[in-house]
Subunit: 184 residues, 2 copies
DNA sequence: AAGGATGTGCCCAAAATTTGGACACACCCT
DNA sequence: AGGGTGTGTCCAAATTTTGGGCACATCCTT
């Protein structure tokens, strides 16, 4: 099955997301934009958060697929921050929503998704335990999350915040510490 | 209903038309391109000629809708030739097909469609009989058709063939003759 | 000239999707 | 307190999509 309706719903939603904050987009707005029945929306998606989650996951997957193979953790961190920067408009709209929880939930998921994928590659042959992998993922993704969060709060004035280099430096040290700790 | 499948079929077909001549496009190619069942094609369209006809009519309508209101017959002729020129790639692909009849059928329909719309406007208050209107439409559209036909045969070397000015001159004379004849 | 491969246009019944209508519930506003 | 709006869910009917099969035509090969 081709699922053209699901695709149309996603397209309408992204279109509306470029016009107004998430909190002001209703199911009615979406179905009216693509000219379908409201029940057809609920046939394809549980609710708007589920729709958003699917779009974010798809976009993340697509972006990751288009990045070249990475060799080192440094590259992974670089790519993850690039990802956050490049998706600033999407993240910004979510952030603009009244519901701060939702912003945190999805931004965090987005960043962690990328960080996880790349740390998996970086740690592949390093003999790191699953627990330590999780710890590294938490440390790196939380750092990046905090960075983006502050950046949005400041109005995203700089194209790429100066802090990013400092945070990246910190992030770069984390996996080495983890690997050393694992081997001792 | 939104009919996303019909839209997808049209998009796939136009995409394939940009890759190979009409005669080599099968229903199978189309349904494979948009990932649907072959029977779904036949649910929406009778056959490929019907699909082509619908696309051409839609495109012609859309292009005409985007043209400004015309005041004189001269403008109408101008717009009709512009239309043929601007759609040269679509016309060219149909022409490339082995089936010359099909090319003639659709090119002729396309050109006559535009000429008819505009001659209707031009003749609006001129008191011309329906029979004379038809005659004018035939004369003008056949002239333009022959022009485009020759142009394609010559390989469309010139951006706009030199003949077009001469043919336009001839066309410009026709409605005046028709109107005079009607009033005598 | 027979056979295979490919494509067409059509048929059917089952499966999947879309629709319109309804409902209880929550929220905001005044 | 009540009107307006939006949510999430249910249902049955209508529409659309699918997979299978069919006879027929065409092209190509042997």
């Amino acid at each position: 099955m081709a699922n053209f309706t699901g695709k149309a719903i996603k397209e309408s939603f992204v279109k509306l997301l470029n016009e107004k904050p998430l909190a002001r987009i209703s199911v009615k707005d979406i179905v009216e934009d693509c000219g379908i029945n409201r029940n057809s929306f609920y046939y394809h998606f549980q609710d708007i958060p589920a729709l958003l989650e699917e779009i974010i996951t798809e976009q993340a997957d697509e972006l990751i697929a288009n990045y070249p193979e990475i060799e080192s953790l440094e590259e992974g961190i670089e790519v993850a921050t690039d990802f956050a920067i490049k998706n600033k408009m999407a993240v910004f709209h979510i952030y603009n929503s009244v519901n701060r929880d939702m912003y945190e939930k999805y931004t965090m998921r987005l960043i962690r998704h990328v960080v996880t994928r790349y740390l998996e590659v970086a740690f592949k042959d390093a003999g790191v335990s699953p627990e330590d992998k999780d710890l590294a993922i938490k440390l790196v993704s939380c750092s990046l999350f905090g960075l983006v969060y502050d950046w949005l709060d400041s109005g995203m004035n700089e194209e790429r915040p100066a802090d990013i280099h400092r945070v990246c430096e910190l992030c770069r040290g984390i996996p080495e510490i983890i690997i050393e700790r694992s081997n001792s």
